[in-house]
């Protein structure tokens, strides 16, 4: 009897261990199966865009060929893009507009965020609230009257129009993000400097800003990405091909009537996304911080 009890105990322990193993394996399968599912769904469109951009036209429009492979890869579609379209011009426009609006937004956003996070003055609370509300206003609510305003001040079809309108959604975003960073820096740091005879502004510039660098990188990358990707304002505030940004140029000018040159369109989409993808690959952590700042800190 004693012996059988021991045996059943051993069996019990074995069973428990086995079921734990089974559970862990199942869980692993679930997790990595789920991961594989998301990877396929999220990345398939990019794979297909990329593979199409390396195909010659005969392969793109050959229904008998399995579409996920390329037999004779070529740079022909890219060559067409560089030689026969205004792609490089739009690339330059996008770079100029995104850089300028990022610099403007970071400057205004940093000043505003510091004032809202650190200084005591009348109306601070309601100003902070208005910044948060403007951060939520979608561009499609405003583009129509904004286009009228831009026409009135004579900036229609001028890249400067984009450089000053993009900050309208970037400044609230930068301000909101940077306020979080400012609040995390101990006040004592500045107060020490001020006791030593620094003015508030000098303490801000010499002590707080250097510590803030990660926040500035995060806000700057995000501002650049949002400007690069912006579509509606660029579509409605510019008209001639010389001033178009990359996304609008590709979508509205590379399609001739109803004829779609899919190969070079995909090449354009790949190259147009590349600068953002490269920036992103180098600064992933900053992106994730910027993206979740609003949600998690809020």
């Amino acid at each position: 009897m004693h012996a059988s009890a021991t045996r059943s105990q051993t069996f019990g322990a074995l069973n428990a261990r086995r079921s734990r193993l089974v559970r862990r394996t199942l869980r692993g399968l679930g997790v990595y199966g789920g991961l594989a599912f998301f990877l396929v769904i999220m990345l398939f469109p990019f794979y297909f865009m990329l593979i199409t951009s390396f195909k010659p036209d005969v392969e793109i429009y050959d229904i008998s060929q399995f579409p996920l492979i390329v037999k004779a890869p070529t740079f022909g579609q890219y060559q067409h893009l560089f030689e026969k379209t205004h792609f490089l011009l739009w690339l330059k426009n996008s770079a100029v507009v995104a850089t300028a609006s990022t610099i403007i937004s970071l400057t205004l956003g940093t000043l505003a965020a510091y004032a809202l996070a650190r200084l005591k003055f009348r109306g601070r609370q309601s100003l902070g609230l208005s910044v948060y509300i403007t951060y939520l206003v979608p561009t499609s609510l405003l583009f129509l009257p904004l286009a009228s305003v831009i026409r009135q001040i004579g900036l229609f079809d001028n890249p400067v129009a984009l450089m000053i309108t993009y900050p309208t959604f970037l400044v609230p975003f930068c301000t909101w993000l940077l306020m979080g960073y400012f609040k995390a820096i101990p006040r004592e740091l500045e107060e020490c400097a001020m006791v030593d005879g620094c003015t508030r502004f000098h303490a801000f510039r010499a002590i707080v800003l250097p510590i803030m660098l990660p926040g500035l990188v995060s806000a700057g990358l995000f501002a650049f990405t949002l400007s690069w990707n912006e579509f509606l304002y660029a579509l409605t505030l510019t008209q001639s091909y010389e001033v178009k940004t990359l996304p609008v140029g590709i979508v509205s000018q590379l399609v001739l009537g109803d004829v779609y040159f899919w190969g070079s369109l995909m090449a354009a989409a790949v190259l147009g996304s590349a600068p953002i993808a490269i920036l992103y690959a180098f600064f992933l952590e900053y992106y994730v911080k910027g993206m979740t700042a609003g949600a998690v800190k809020g």
């Binding site: 990345l43 469109p45 990019f46 297909f48 579409p67 403007t134 206003v137 609510l141 508030r200 502004f201």
Partner: protein, 309 residues
């Protein structure tokens, strides 16, 4: 000697200015002024002029500013079939898309939370649909939906899931399905990564305590993860509802609102009415229908944030 004196005078004047400024009550408004002026001129003023525009019959090509016609645009719109269709499209689009983005985003967050191999790489690549220009990835989807060469049809037919080609953007049902699909695809990572960030702020001992009390993983999800994740979930969801209702790019690139207006949203109908059709006043009125949604979302968010504090 005189040179150095003026230099001294200048310097002390600069110093006195900076000392005068060295008060919160002066420096604060001054530092916020540039941002405030920009937002007043390019958000506040256009917003107010948009409200005025919605009460007029202004036409773009005409040089005059149109007549003040009170609520005629709004009354006309409420009777207009295309506008009624747009309202139902917009709510169908937004609520279906946000629902699936939330559910699948939550799933993605739960999966990523458990992944231990190449963690950062997977997080990084899964965020790509959200970071890449939407108009360009939508162009990729347009190619995948192309009637003759659709790779989606090819794969679904080859694997026997469907028997006949789907005309993705050609029929009202499938067109709406397709634009929703693309919006969901693009938005899942935003939910996924935000919820994941929220999950990682939940203290691990809460899960351990729940396990000791005998809670299985399903139970732990519902009684620990969900309630503690609620603030992030609400903020992210409200944000996404506003963004989805105001969406423009996906529909503009894929269908331009067609076929037979079955995918028009407020923003694309505004564009078609005012920019392509020149009816500026009417267009402004259409876009202002988004305003109540925005107000509601902002109010809910603020109320929720205040309760959190």
């Amino acid at each position: 000697m005189s040179v150095s004196t003026t230099h001294l005078v200048k310097k002390s004047r600069l110093q006195s200015v900076s000392i005068w400024l060295d008060r919160d009550a002066r420096l604060g408004p001054l530092m916020i002024a540039p941002a405030a002026i920009l937002l007043i001129v390019l958000i506040g003023y256009p917003f107010l002029s948009g409200i005025y525009l919605g009460f007029t019959d202004r036409i773009i090509a005409r040089s005059d500013t149109g007549h003040f016609i009170w609520f005629k645009n709004y009354l006309d719109l409420l009777k207009d079939n295309i506008f009624q269709k747009t309202v139902s499209n917009t709510f169908n689009y937004a609520f279906t898309a946000v629902f699936f983005k939330l559910v699948l985003g939550m799933l993605m967050a739960l999966v990523l939370d458990q992944v231990t191999v190449l963690k950062n790489l997977f997080r990084g690549v899964l965020l790509l649909p959200w970071i890449i220009p939407t108009s360009l990835s939508a162009l990729g989807w347009l190619w995948m939906f192309q009637p003759q060469f659709s790779v989606l049809n090819r794969l679904l037919l080859d694997s026997g899931i469907i028997q006949d080609k789907i005309i993705w953007l050609g029929s009202p049902f499938w067109a709406m399905f397709s634009v929703q699909l693309v919006n969901i695809w693009r938005g899942i990572p935003f939910f996924g990564i935000s919820l994941l960030a929220g999950m990682q702020t939940i203290p691990q001992d809460l899960y351990e305590a729940a396990s000791i009390d005998g809670a299985n993983s399903w139970r732990r999800f519902w009684s620990v993860t969900v309630p503690l994740l609620m603030p992030v979930t609400i903020v992210v969801t409200l944000f996404s509802i506003v963004q989805t209702i105001a969406d423009f790019q996906v529909v503009y690139v894929l269908t331009r609102g067609g076929p037979v207006n079955s995918t028009h949203l407020f923003a694309t109908l505004t564009y078609q009415t005012a920019i392509l059709g020149s009816e500026l006043g009417k267009g402004a009125a259409i876009s202002l229908f988004m305003f109540p949604v925005l107000v509601l979302a902002v109010t809910l968010q603020l109320r929720y944030l205040q309760r959190q504090d």
